[in-house]
Amino acid sequence: MTLLDHLPVLVVLIPLMTAPLCVLVDRPRASWIMALAAAWLSFASAIALALTVATSGTLTYQLGGWPPPWGIEYRIDTLASYVVLIVTAMAALVMLFAKESVASEIPERRIARFYASLMLAFAGLVGIVATGDAFNVFVFLEISSLASYALISMGRDRRALNAAFQYLVMGTIGATFILIGIGFLYMMTGTLNMLDLAARLPEVSDSRTVRAGFAFLTVGIGLKLAMFPLHLWLPNAYAYAPSAVTAFLAATATKVAVYVMLRFMLEVFGADFSLGAMPLDLILMGLGLIGIIMASLVAVFQDDIKRMLAYSSVAQIGYMLLGIGLASATGVGAAILHIFNHALMKGALFLALGAVAYRIGAVTLGDFAGLGKRMPWTMAAIAIGGLSLIGVPPTVGFVSKWYLVLATLEQGLWPIAVLILIGSLLALVYIWRLIEAAYFGAVAADAPEVREAPASMLIPIWILVAANIYFGINTDISVGAAMQAATMLMGDGG
């Protein structure tokens, strides 16, 4: 087997094995360098992986050398390689940013172990995407979740501790529900391999056990996704976690949960069952819409900008769920596209916020007064990110909304299209509050002198901002891959 054959497992292994190395070495600078190297190597592998899948089709890998369903296999298809690419890219960029940010927010003697946990969270997320075995999803979900609880708790405010605890309780309930769901599926089919499950479920899909398994899986994944009304953990967790952690998790963790939902609902259960026999389409559309409107409304009234963006994330996830609920290739494609675009948007925004926190120490609306003059580059990044959030062309946000509206109109659902636009309007309101304070607000008399953020932070921020615009104009790759994945998923239904 050549190096290229091992790619599916390398994307996970590299960060996974870096974590114990960080613990062994236990020096802040060295562990940052190792984490940075691991993230970029993993990213490079992900690129190679995506290219290979694009040309030769789905890649499989038998862990331990045992064929499935007796052994665990990794399956990388278009959707998986797409999501892996996003997660690794975000990790690579956040690691660049992390050097100064982490050094200022985390006590020095904890930094090495902090990076080790970050690597574990990263590896866990990629592991969830790469695997083709249902129980393996559970195991890696727990790796990344436990690491996330620890990472979030390291925030400077004491409220980070309770936020992490609430996330732990809700996250564990979610994971246990997923375990129950997998158990029911196993009970009726005898297998854990997702492809095998997809083949065997149709003949037993009428049974109550399978239906219950479906329900438990939906709720469990929904908790991890922050689907309304199971989103309660998210605003606090994002608001109080260290800046680098918020940026990384906001761009990746919930997206991976969306991936899991797609994988289970559309591939394992099949689109016909999930969106046809079971009322998942209505549930997703309904809850998605409520999430969009409610979360956007709450965001308008937030003073803490991190919380504002956290609620905004709940709304964005609502858009993704809406797309899936539309039950068409366009709708699902729009959702998948938004996984990519949202990572770009929120990644840029939270990183930029982290830069502000680095210089000022806090991120309330009051702190933003006059920031446009004092930190021009950072503020410009936030402005563009904000435009993307609203959905103004030529940003990626516009592309996602476009396809989503297209999908709703395809089915003649005018009222829903209107609601999507209302969501954008609400985003306009809260983003405008921010812009107004930053560019038109007067600097407070007792405000401390601040300089622009350091280059190590500005570079990754602006890479993401540039990507926001580039992929907003040149949509071939992102849209093409998303639509292809969607067609495969919807076509495989039943």
């Binding site: 087997m1 094995m17 620890a150 009970m187 009726m188 219950a212």
Partner: protein, 310 residues
Amino acid sequence: MLIAVVAIRMRDLFGVVILFGVYSLLTAVLFMDLDAVDVAFTEAAVGAGVTTVLLLSGLRLTRRWEAPPRHNPLFSLLVVGITGAALVYATLDAPLLGDPSSPVHKHVAPRYLQQAVEEVGMPNIVTAVLASYRGYDTFGETLVVFTAGLAVLLLLGFPDGSESRARSSALGDQLVLKVVVKLLVPLILLYALYVQFHGDFGAGGGFQAGVIFATGFILYDMVFGSANARAVMPADWLPRLAALGVLIYGGVGIFSMLAGKPFLDYSALSADPVQGQHLGVLLVELGVGVTVFSIVLSIFYALSGRRPRS
């Protein structure tokens, strides 16, 4: 079942934790009855043993009594009712207990039962599946332990030397205890080693062994005081040992990759594939045992060495 209800109503948390320990022990007995010996062993050691010790350490650092409930339990009861109904609904179509024609007995599992002895070379099928067929899951599980230990260390850290030297053992100068423990500890450690290496043939394996090995140290710490315990096993070594365990496990997998086989394919370890399997399982379980031992002991040190803040 009764225990569960009482645990809900009790407000003395110490009682709740002990009852929970009893519940775990009963669960372990139930597992024995259902022919799940490895699971029973693990539940007894990990569930009843470690969890109880952890919770009690946590109680020491917080409060023993729970405040009276303030809000209306109606909403919670509703949620629980719906979930329970969904679960009962699910069972209506489920295969019955012990039914040999249920899907789980007809697909996937038969190959393990029939061919594990030939392919992996060991009679304990659970170990064969755990360490070889689904070895990657176990790798993940080892990493879960590592991640949790890391999390606890990030949150609590180890107490520094001066605190522990000043404190004498919590159990004072009980001569009988000291003598008995001195006799027991080597036996416990020996038993742990037995469990570690005999796991291929009887119930056992890395997780249980790691926990039991740690128990020996914990017992020593409790009776002879943390100063002595830390002289034997310094706290700083533990995270590094844990990392080493993970690296051993991963290292075996990487070795397979370098030999041109997939990650964790043990047949790459020796000319005879079954020998390779044996070697692989041995090394991998060792990695697990080392990591579990180090993390369990680390967590204990972190919790026990911390002074309660009033």
